[in-house]
């Protein structure tokens, strides 16, 4: 299993943000976590990249366990994870190229490899002509594609997308979901949190539903029909 969560509980103050979470994510799957705003989707993703650690239970990601991980191991874990946010989180003082190159530069990858990988990925994302642009010069869809390129450039084993279409219009949202599906077909595990699971066609992934911090469903591993 790529990700295992066992008996996970996490509270912010008095209220549990997540409770009794037991779940597994297999290598290569496309998992859609849906739920209303405040249901705990973002918190669940934060637990996977260990931006937070559970109050009880544990999360294990690619061999790193939340209750055993050392501080110096966080960067190693995060290099295996790509993260895409609803608000893109691009660095506005850097060009598209520099934003995408960042995960490689912080790991000491040689300049030639950085050039090669970033240029190839920008071409794949249809952003070659925008490589010297700054984020504020891009449309929302383009910014999200840059964010996805940044998340993918270091060849992560898992891509976490937190409401990646939240700030986009329906047509661009479809393009972004298609891009995530294409990335998944390439072998990368994708976990997408969304308030609207209908964005992902039925049969294209596994669907989980979060309700006020608890995974709902008679059988948590049953695929839910997003139209139900």
């Amino acid at each position: 299993m790529l990700v295992t969560m066992s008996g996970v509980r996490l509270s912010y103050g008095r209220w549990p943000a997540l409770d009794k979470i037991d779940m597994e994510i297999r290598q290569g799957e496309f998992l859609v976590i849906s739920g209303a705003s405040g249901a705990g989707k973002t918190t669940l993703l934060r637990l996977i990249w260990m931006g937070d650690r559970p109050d009880s239970g544990f999360v294990e990601v690619s061999g790193f366990r939340s209750d055993r991980i050392r501080n110096r191991e966080f960067p190693q874990l995060r290099r295996k994870i790509g993260i895409v946010f609803q608000d893109f989180r691009l660095l506005h003082t850097r060009t598209v190229f520099d934003n995408v190159a960042l995960p490689l530069q912080v790991t000491g990858t040689g300049n030639r490899i950085v050039q090669k990988r970033v240029i190839s990925l920008l071409a794949r994302m249809g952003l070659s002509h925008r490589r010297n642009a700054f984020p504020h010069e891009l449309s929302g869809g383009e910014q999200q594609r840059v964010a996805i390129a940044r998340a993918m450039v270091a060849h992560p084993v898992i891509l976490l997308a937190d409401e990646p279409t939240g700030n986009l219009d329906p047509e661009v949202s479809r393009e972004v979901v298609d891009l995530l599906l294409e990335i998944n077909r390439g072998g990368t595990t994708v976990v997408m949190a969304t308030h609207d699971p209908r964005q992902v066609p039925a049969g294209k992934g596994r669907f989980l539903f979060l309700d006020r911090g608890v995974l709902r469903g008679a059988d948590r591993w049953t695929e839910l029909d997003p139209d139900s």
């Binding site: 110096r72 966080f74 290099r79 995960p103 912080v106 000491g108 300049n111």
Partner: protein
Amino acid sequence: MDRTGSGFMSLVRSAVKEISLNLHSRPGARLITLLMVALAFIVFNTFLIISWNLQGIVDKEEDLVGMEVFLQRDISQAEGRTIGDNISSMQGVKSVYFVSSQEAEALFRAELPGRTDLLDVMGNDFRLPASLQITFETEAMSQGRISELSRQIEAVAGVEDAVYGEDYLPGLLKTVTTIRRLVVLLGIVLVSSISLVVFYTVRLSVVRRSLTVDIMRTVGAPWWFIRIPFVVEGLFMGVTGSAGGLVLVAILSKVLSSAVAQRFMPLSWMTLVILLCAVTGTVGALAGSYEKER
């Protein structure tokens, strides 16, 4: 991560690039931070100059504290100098100056020209006694220590009498001690306040760029890679801000020098001021980046 030497060099190059990008971003916000630091240091530097000048006045007052030791009339110059040498080896004695009988008379005539008739009345055989003028080390500047030294000196063979300002000395020493304590107390309060101002100003400027720290974390940057640009920024703002404050106060001091006689603070104090600000700026930046990195 590429663990080869070239991989490490690429990482260092990227870190240097980060530092450069960081220092060039948000010039307006950085200017405001620098002005805040400089303003805080103008207040602090002014205090330091006042303290430095006050210290000079206090030192001068202390230099006036001394003892006059009158020697017996039958003591020769050589014996007088030997007694002086013995006294100068006593703990707490800073200097001993031998005043011969002839020198004492010359001094009397020079300092009290209107009263030379007193010497004439005493007759030709009269000689003022030879004496020793003694000054004390700072640590011996207490009423108790000086009276103890006075007793010790009076017990030395050949000494007639030891005189010091018993009436004014306690008051003078108390005033000097009080001034020194007040300056130190105010200094501690100001150093603490200034350190906090610099710490929080720099920390705030780092926290303002929390997005950069967040992104660096999520892409797996090592902790030092995330922090080093902020540390350099804190150091830069601390040194530039305090140096700016020093320059402004130096200009002010120069302008006012014709109206108010004063000395600018010594180089060692200036170095300490810049060092203090560099340390607090760096710690503030570290705290800011650590706060966002958790």
